[in-house]
Symmetry: D2
Subunit: 314 residues, 4 copies
């Protein structure tokens, strides 16, 4: 292997860093990334730029939080950057721990470093257990822990479970998130290549702009899915950015490009929409079946096509 490595350039996975954040936990779930270089970068844009420039094979970035909603930086980068494709998704439970420098006790804590999102999601616990504490902003969940060693006035940090792999902190309280079911969804993004095989439990991500001149355009767009029995697991509007009132929609549809129902719906949207971006078909992290309602299975599409051929032939 060592010999081998001399000649072969190791695969790089860029991820929204720094090390010790939830994105690192997502990357830890990627089977193909075992043994590869895990490269933390400063922003979603940087991670995607690494992919486009060939500096990384894939990027791992957050796309949706069950508490905060869609990650705008990711959604907007996917919409405006050409040449990206989603290959997989990963779910990471959002647990927070309260960490301190060794020796610090709960009663000692006056000032807490926390990323604003982490702070918002642990507010109830902190209010109940650390009355009157002061909050200092950190730029990430990992930076909050790092700040313990750079700023003496900080007594504790809200951070991730994996932070202890990176800093010599002590966990004072585990699992302090107010919502115990919070999750963040991450995607693995690369340049266009072979679409992951259909598993029967898949998701297809697209971005669709609405024709601006038609009221009821969103309804019409949804009918393109409904007419083929394709359910959506997510639909999220984002401003196109040129002026108020213009939106594009980030959509996760159930099923795979190789499901005839999905393929036909995509073609319908291509005709309907002034701009559609195909982001990829990939297995669902939650393993739920992606069936299409109302006789829209591949078998039924096949019979319909055979019938059409028959009536066309004579």
């Amino acid at each position: 292997m060592a010999t081998f490595a001399k000649n072969v350039k190791k695969k790089v996975y860029s991820y929204l860093g720094p090390a010790g954040t939830f994105t690192e936990l997502a990357l830890a779930q990627v089977p193909e990334a075992k043994g590869a270089v895990h490269k933390p970068v400063l922003s979603v844009a940087d991670a995607l730029a690494d992919v486009l420039a060939g500096r990384a094979i894939h990027a791992i970035v957050p796309v949706e939080s069950s508490v905060e909603g869609g990650v705008s930086a990711t959604l907007d980068a996917l919409a405006t950057t050409e040449g990206l494709r989603i290959y997989a998704e990963y779910l990471v439970p959002v647990n927070f721990n309260l960490v301190v420098r060794p020796g610090v006790k709960l009663a000692d804590i006056k000032t807490i470093a926390a990323h604003p999102v982490a702070y918002a999601q642990t507010r109830k616990w902190l209010a109940a257990n650390l009355k009157g504490h002061k909050h200092l902003l950190a730029t990430s969940n990992a930076a909050a822990a790092a700040d313990l060693f750079e700023n003496d006035r900080i007594d504790a940090a809200v951070s991730t479970p994996n932070i202890t792999d990176h800093y010599a902190v002590k966990v004072l309280a585990k699992n302090i998130a107010d919502n115990k079911h919070a999750q963040t969804r991450f995607i693995e993004v690369g340049k266009p290549g072979t679409t992951p095989k259909r598993t029967g439990s898949d998701k297809t991500s697209i971005i669709v702009e609405l024709p601006s001149d038609r009221p009821g355009a969103l309804l019409e767009m949804l009918e393109q899915f409904a007419a083929r029995g394709v359910n959506l697991s997510r639909i999220e509007s984002r401003p196109i950015g040129d002026r108020l009132g213009r939106y594009r929609f980030n959509i996760d549809a159930q099923g795979h490009l190789d499901d005839a129902a999905v393929a036909e719906a995509l073609m319908g949207l291509h005709r309907f929409s002034p701009k559609i971006v195909f982001l990829g078909s990939y297995p669902r992290a939650d393993k739920q079946k992606s069936e299409h309602e109302g006789n829209n299975s591949n078998t039924e599409f096949g019979s319909a096509e055979a019938w059409l051929k028959r009536i066309r032939s004579k």
Copy 2:
């Protein structure tokens, strides 16, 4: 004739007779029927049976009257008989004349023979011009004229413009229909064969049963057309016949089997419906363009398909 028959087997067109009715006028419009045998038969069922048995190449039967609505006998025969296809449609203006035996004058008329439909459509004229007349039922518009020579008590008949080709009657009053714009639509029916070429001004006829277990099924069916921008020029419900409350729908959609929008809508209906019958694609008699709304032309279907191929390839 005997000599002739020895060498050549003449093409036969069966039509709803007798000679002298509107169906004969429709048949007169069929270019390919020039010089062929025009065979009047007693019923729509007989005309279609001639086609199925090979006794006639095509049948001409009425399908819809602008005044009376769909012709149930034709609609039901098309729904329940396998192996029929529509090849063309023809429009015949519904004009009626009042005809008499030579020498009879308006003042002499006491009793009128008329088919009930013809009588209904000339009621106002007759009431205004022949007060107190008596009406005798005739089995067809041609029979009404024939009755003049079989029943002395009948003084006049309501009949078709072409009846003078068949009976030595005199036209006493022309164009006595109450509605001057009335039309009947006829179809030319044969066994399945080559579908008439797409002309850009076409119609596709189908019969669709609704799944019985879903409320809102009709709405869902219509959405199969709407999702592909296909307008309907006619939709008519007919009982399936097994019990009250079960219907099949006779539909004329704009466009041709070779319009991708129509083909895809048909396949969608094939999946949706427990039973669909394709009756044919053929040129519209009124020559109106059959365009599909909302970017659903063949060109736009083609681009969408090319795009799908592209995103599938990588």
Copy 3:
């Protein structure tokens, strides 16, 4: 009778005659018609004219056959005549008997009188049991029986079960209809008056014209029902009559004018349609519940209205 008439003016029910037809059987089901005058008339138009002129309190006419479909004469009269309202509906099973003059046996039968509809619905039985018979047209199911006594050449008649109340015929074969589940639906029509009370198992009949300038207008019309969870038990197109391609729709919706869902749907249709005719709300003959899907009960409409009042008040 003269003496009687001096004191009491008896209620009159006009019905599509003659006596001995299925319509008479429908009238026999009308509780309020017990002891009233049952007046057979020659046509649907005559029955309705009796109502409008005050010669009858109500008319009983057929509106739909499970085999033949909508009764055009009735549907068109309801659409074009102002001042009519439906108060009830009745279902009559369509059974036919083969009747003869006393003494005639099956083996003697060569010629059969039958109304064309009755003949069509008993064709299989007749073909199997009376091979090679001749068919003579009768103008009604009752007239078929009457013809036995007017025309010696007629050996048997296809008629209704109640014909033996009117003619001295003998039933040679019972229940000879090919479809054992055939039914005809009849309506009781009067001048506008108090709408029958809501029973929870009701039907509302309307006639709606579509705006002619919008493709997809039928879909839009159906959405007016769907948006309030109102299912349709029947929808039937009829030509408006002025030219081909223009239709009005005869609709039976589930529920009563006093169901908020129905009332709101009707108002929606009133705004949508260039012409809507309310024909009445009345109990369903089949006693099925008329519930509205998706939280559209009167209770839920009530809560929504109370909520609106609340948010309006401050």
Copy 4:
């Protein structure tokens, strides 16, 4: 001031501060706020808390940026806080200036303070005009300017046009936003009270949860608007927060609670949705007419209601 406060209780408007940000410019547009106390607060939550506690009559907070999209803090606070109502909206063009301490020239600039959003929206200008500059994060557009006087290493700040009212800075470059049409929309929020009068150019804001058990629920929700001709000017999904895949929708519909079309659509949504929050009806900032398509004006609702009354009366 102390004396003054004894006698008169001045109206307070809380706004997302600090002074010198765009929200202050929005507040400057509020006619009723002239002469009132303008109280800058640290967060959207603080501004709304002031309203709920009676410390402020109204709060001014950002709700949507044409570039960044919905302001999650505001949207989520409106969804989860009871007892808030929107009374008005204001649009503020998003212009940025580059400001410096007096005497500093473009060539001197090495390090720039900027709020991350402001930095993102001026990136192109900065890259073109200040190559190789360093960026330091500021917590607001006003803080960026304030930082000039607290940190010598900072040479310039990206800030708002009104910052010169608050700090002794010099504008070095005007209007440096990359998108010249960027706008932010602000809302004026208070406790429930009298809804602003219908002006014919109004907007109604609501939050709707979808029933979780129905695929196609979003389509159904949109049909509640479509069936009454009500167009949406904005629809934005936000996570409910309990788990991935559950959304609520923030909706701005065209029209006013006193438009019958809007009122009926709201009641329809109340029946349909497990949770609906009415946020208010108020005049549109862009003054565009809020008409309802397809015969859904108040006049047409009025006629439909009158018709319903008529057919109900007899």
